[in-house]
Amino acid sequence: MSEQYPALLVIVPLLSALVISVAGWVNKRLCFPIAVAALGVAAWSSVGLLFRVLDEGVIVYKLGGWSPPMGIAYYIDYLNGLVLPVVSIVALLNLISSKKIVEQQFPDKAGPFYTLYVLMVTGLLGIVVTGDAFNLYVLLEIASLTGYGLLAMGEERAPLATLNYLYMGTIGACFYLLGIGYLYIVTGSLNMVDIARLLPPLYQSKAVLAAFIICMVGVWLKMAFFPLHAWLPNAYTYANSASSGLIAPLMTKVMVYVMIRLILTVFTPKFVFNTLAVHDAVVWLAVIAIVMGAVLALKERNLKKMLTYIVVAEVGYMVGGAWLGNRAGLTGAVLHIVNDALMTLCVFLVVGNIVYKIKGYAFGDLKGLFAKMPFTMGAFVIGALSIIGVPPTCGFFSKWYLILGAIQAHQYGFMVALLFSSLINVVLFFRVFEIGFYEPFSDHEGHEHHPAVMAEAPLTMLVPLYVVAISLILVGLYTGDIVNHIVQFVIPKGFM
């Protein structure tokens, strides 16, 4: 059974998506349990895979028994072994939370919604698990197309915002494909490990250089790396909260994974940091991304849109960390994939709860929210503290590694940008807390303050939220174990 985990991970959700779409015609109430079961299996297999990787090291799984470079192989090493459980568990938790949202907002579209949802997760898991560069493109398109569909189910402006995303996303995916095409021309292979083996004599080739740059631009477009971010805020803001709760935590993080995979496995650090040596410039781009993300977030008067700009800033954290070119920076970037997925999920689930009860997410709608929804806001505080980077939440520890990496690489601009973004995050979140805590203002001594009636979100939304919120603290406390047992093996030997 456990030998088949890599296949189960992708096949079960893929087939379930078909079943769900059929079940949607028969009885809409069947869709949700099937989706939960499918993602449950995926989560189970991904956790199982992680433990197998911890025991045995890298796992190579040949799909259909065809061996590479002819057939498609799935490589599960410490990097995707860590990212897979994150993707599947985040997707599962958001799925549970989305039940009530679907019932409230588009009950008759339950079938298509859950179909797209499970298909998208299939795509995301496939991207992470595959060891084939072209297969990755196919799965990327699966995840993207379903993502457009999910995001377009939302407010009036959602279809237009999504159309914009579709244009940009398609360009990004095409760039990636083009880059892989170049690689295929020069190496004759699509298997990542194989490409890496064939590339070293070709490091000086202009075609390889072009392939790398085109791939990177494509991936940066898909992950909304500033200034290629413009599609993200509107697309995420106007979507329904069930979709944004899936896509905001995962899509950008999976693309960061792809970037790190390209750097580490396909092109190898030797090419990226020694032959190419543009990493200082990329780190400065990341600095701009972090600062601009923070400043643009500051401008917003709308909780959800503010959070989307924080996502843009966080992408800068990870890109910068990965391109610092040292052990601490890369550790921070990989850790931050996990941490940022969890904390973005946490705050987007909070938005989901708020929209579900209050029907709005502008700052003006948040008055008195600590009294109305104390549990949701409690989890929001934990998520916010993690994004700010307060110990012992996990956000602190990835930031710790990132700053340490910046100091060791003498990239003080990146260090200042991280601190600046933390401080801006304090302002951003406490501005929201203030509205929820003070307004409507009580009189001078506060004696006549009448607490608002509590109207908390249902349990199916609170439980996933608290699972995530508590995991933020637990992941933070176990950072040492995660780094010692997993992340340090991600980084190739000899990488300082």
Partner: protein
Amino acid sequence: METITSIRPLLAVLVSLLIIPLVVVSSRSPNVRESWTFVAAVAKFLIVLSMLPAILRGTEIVYTVVQFMPGAAIRFRVDALGMLFALVSSSLWIITSAYSIGYMRGLKEHGQTRYFCFFAICLSATIGAAFSANLLTLYLFYEILSLATYPLVTHHQDLEARSSGRKYLLYVVGASIGLVLPAMLICYNLAGTLEFSKNGILAGTAVSPSLLFILLFMFVFGFAKSAIMPMHSWLPAAMVAPTPVSALLHAVAVVKVGVFSIVRILTGVFGIQLLSSSHLGMAVCYVAAFTILVGSFIALSQNGLKRLLAFSTIAQLSYIVLGVALLSPKGMTGGMLHIAMHAFGKITLFFCAGAIFVATGKKNISEMIGIGRRMPVTMAAFFIASLSIIGMPPCGGFISKWYLALGTLQAHQIGFLVVLLFSSLLNACYFIPITYKAFFCRPEDAMFENKVQEAPAFCVVPLVITATISVILLFYPQPFLRLARMMVQSITGV
């Protein structure tokens, strides 16, 4: 040095967190709810006390919660200084809890459940900071304390509370993220560890003097809770909080965590060898001396009683920093001892200010003429406590000031002796007239009618207790003096 591994430091931290669910559940029956606070307070004090004999024997108690990377862990180590601070804060929490009940119920404040919950978190963080074995753990509890204090400072939820809360965050959280965090990481990168050591973790590293100077002041100003000028102005603003919060947090726990952190930085991170050879100790002394004088001068001009006490606290906190930064054994003893002596005196003064507010609704000194005739117990306690702050017998404050003065002589710094004495004079100038006008005024000038009485017993008894302890500490300054001496001996060898 002998060390014992024991989970008791962690228990001492956690005990007040564990009762929070119980406090929330019993929010509808206030008496049950407050009894949980007492249970936690007494349990915390007893756990701390149970470690005292071992510490006095010269052993240290360590406990590692979780290790993140080499040299950076969440680890507790109870040494003499940590024990001194933990004893002060945990014992005063019991008294403050009683006072809180009298004050909050006397004024029928809203949100009392929230109040007691966050108070409990604050005390956990304070004890955690006291027992921290390294800079990372200290930073962790420092940040938790900053954030847990926020809902207490802004308890009234009005416009004034919001603007004070903003100021509080800007200074305290802004400085810790903006200055302490990078300084800590630079230290880690230089030394490869964050564990406090007797000689200082930066002692053996090749660091340029200018970087040392920058690092030191990133720490000193970054720990803005110590209210060293120019990072002080959050403290007067934070006086919008209910008085028990000002009493325990802004005279004892929060501000002393700031000072305590600076003491740890000076003794455990830099080490006195490095500080004296690079003359950086003197630089800190000058900043502290400036804060002492300016704080005392500003206090002279205050009319709001709590604001006056806040500026007095700003000045007194810098006594501690000055004493330790002198780097002479007597001065360091005096500085550490002052953590305890100032705590008992200042908390009494705040209790008195709160009792006056509960009984009469007055906040300003100009409105308190003749109040001593109506509230004689409160004002007598006020007088005793103000003597302790001035540094006169028969109060404990005399001892710490005596040591501080000897410390300046030992360090051959007559200038700082003058600063200390002049500051005492200023203290007398702003404290004595309050008591004088409260008792000695012409009957027609008295502002209070006969019906004004003492505040409820829950308010009065705690302040009598703390005032009494202030007096007792002069005659029996143990175990605080012994702990301070042990700490100084372990650092300096004298």
